[in-house]
Symmetry: C2
Subunit: 309 residues, 2 copies
Amino acid sequence: MATDPLLLALDFGGTKHAAAVVAAGGKKWRAYQRALSPANGDRESDLATMRSLIQHLLGDAQPAAIGVSFGGPVEAKTGVVRLSHHVPGWENFLLQEVLAEEFQAPVAVDNDANLAALGEYRFGAGQEHDSLLYITVSTGVGGGWILHSKPWRGTAGMAGEIGHMVVDPNGPLCLCGKRGCLERLASGPYIAQQVREQLQTQPQRGQLLRQLIAGKLETITAQLVSQAAAQGDDLGGEALDKAAWALGVSIGNVANLMNPQRFILGGGVTKAGDRFWTVLRQVTRATALPEVNFEIVPAALGDDASQVP
Amino acid sequence: MATDPLLLALDFGGTKHAAAVVAAGGKKWRAYQRALSPANGDRESDLATMRSLIQHLLGDAQPAAIGVSFGGPVEAKTGVVRLSHHVPGWENFLLQEVLAEEFQAPVAVDNDANLAALGEYRFGAGQEHDSLLYITVSTGVGGGWILHSKPWRGTAGMAGEIGHMVVDPNGPLCLCGKRGCLERLASGPYIAQQVREQLQTQPQRGQLLRQLIAGKLETITAQLVSQAAAQGDDLGGEALDKAAWALGVSIGNVANLMNPQRFILGGGVTKAGDRFWTVLRQVTRATALPEVNFEIVPAALGDDASQVP
């Protein structure tokens, strides 16, 4: 094993976990491991998965420090996880304390979207911008802020929940109990669900998409919807326009409220192609006041933004 | 005249102007003057009105410093007014430079809602809260931020335009060209306009309000609507419920996005009484995620928040 100080980076996601080591001051991983979480996992199975990844990476070596990205709200000051929206058992768990004791190293824990914002600010699409909102549009929709050149996490680590801003109070019901949340209108699973329902009720439409999935409705994902839309599928195109509209109204509203320099967009749905970005930019511009300026750019660090050392 | 250093506080509003002097370090005005702006005023008539108020207050005395509150977006760093939404001619006006030259004193200029936020933070309902949004619901709807214990003005001084966040994309048309903006649903003049239209089209309703205005529809104001609602008028109550709903959705959305400790509400519409506050608090709570906590309180400094020295 190397003898120079090693930093350990951990990423607890909703559906997958990852761990990596990097030499202090380095920008490339020395080694990297990832694993899917089991279907009916809980906090203990998440921790067991992570311990096994770490064992693979470190063997008997000792990390000099540990940085943890967590897929849910965290009180960064104390490293206490407030909850996971996906995995039970994480409520008020002292993750920083537990890891610090176990590995005898200093530990910092923060929310994944906050860390993606910080990563883009330091090393990616947010360099030289002292205010930005990073937004991920994926299984869920979340955000992380840089304001006054540093992370803004909110008074209890809950800032950035842009996915549960209401875009259309008469819209469809969201899991959170409200109607027309951004996440309900623009996240990958909901895009897939909407298209699935339309294929069932509108037999004349979505012919390209039907071919793509060979008639198997249960296999539809937002990625397949994007693929069909790129080939000219009517239903697929409409579904993505609707998601882009919802995202555009949200970003325009946030521009009026906060006036940041930049919006940085990551997550699978934002890879839906030019038409998605065109609609998104048009709707954002129409929603923001004429005097409010901003840029919307894709994330530079991809899905690893939160893991940049 | 007093010989100790005098601070001069100026407030350029959309419809009225005010000026006051205070001894350095003091919290009470030595003297105060206000004047309405002329109906078809412009920047030069605004400045002339203000010069006359200052002459009354100061005579031949020299101010040690001048603080200016402006009713529109300002670049606080340079003291350049970006525009007034109410009075023509203010576009990119070097207000700080002009006043500094005229009065040979240092001058600071900021937007009125930002200064109200700062005033509440230092001396009012925001003391010991390092994050807050001040919202005024009056002729317009605007806001000012304290984050990380200091003002957040946005990258170009445009932050706080909560009045032009879209609450209902299918709502009525706003002056800004969009549909269902908060200002369109909750500001005083629009509340009055909506009730006026309903009185014309629904002859059986609003009997108490009709008595209050002696049938003169053109005299309706949001204040009269509140008064009628307090006496049990059906139309008045509904109109205020709708305004409180729009404000509640907006504040709940902002709570999810920013997670500030406190929302501080000022402006005439927020004086509409208990029912207004009850609906507002219920809707905000239902819109914010269960894990997101906050308080909503009335402004402590009233309409003078932006003029506190």
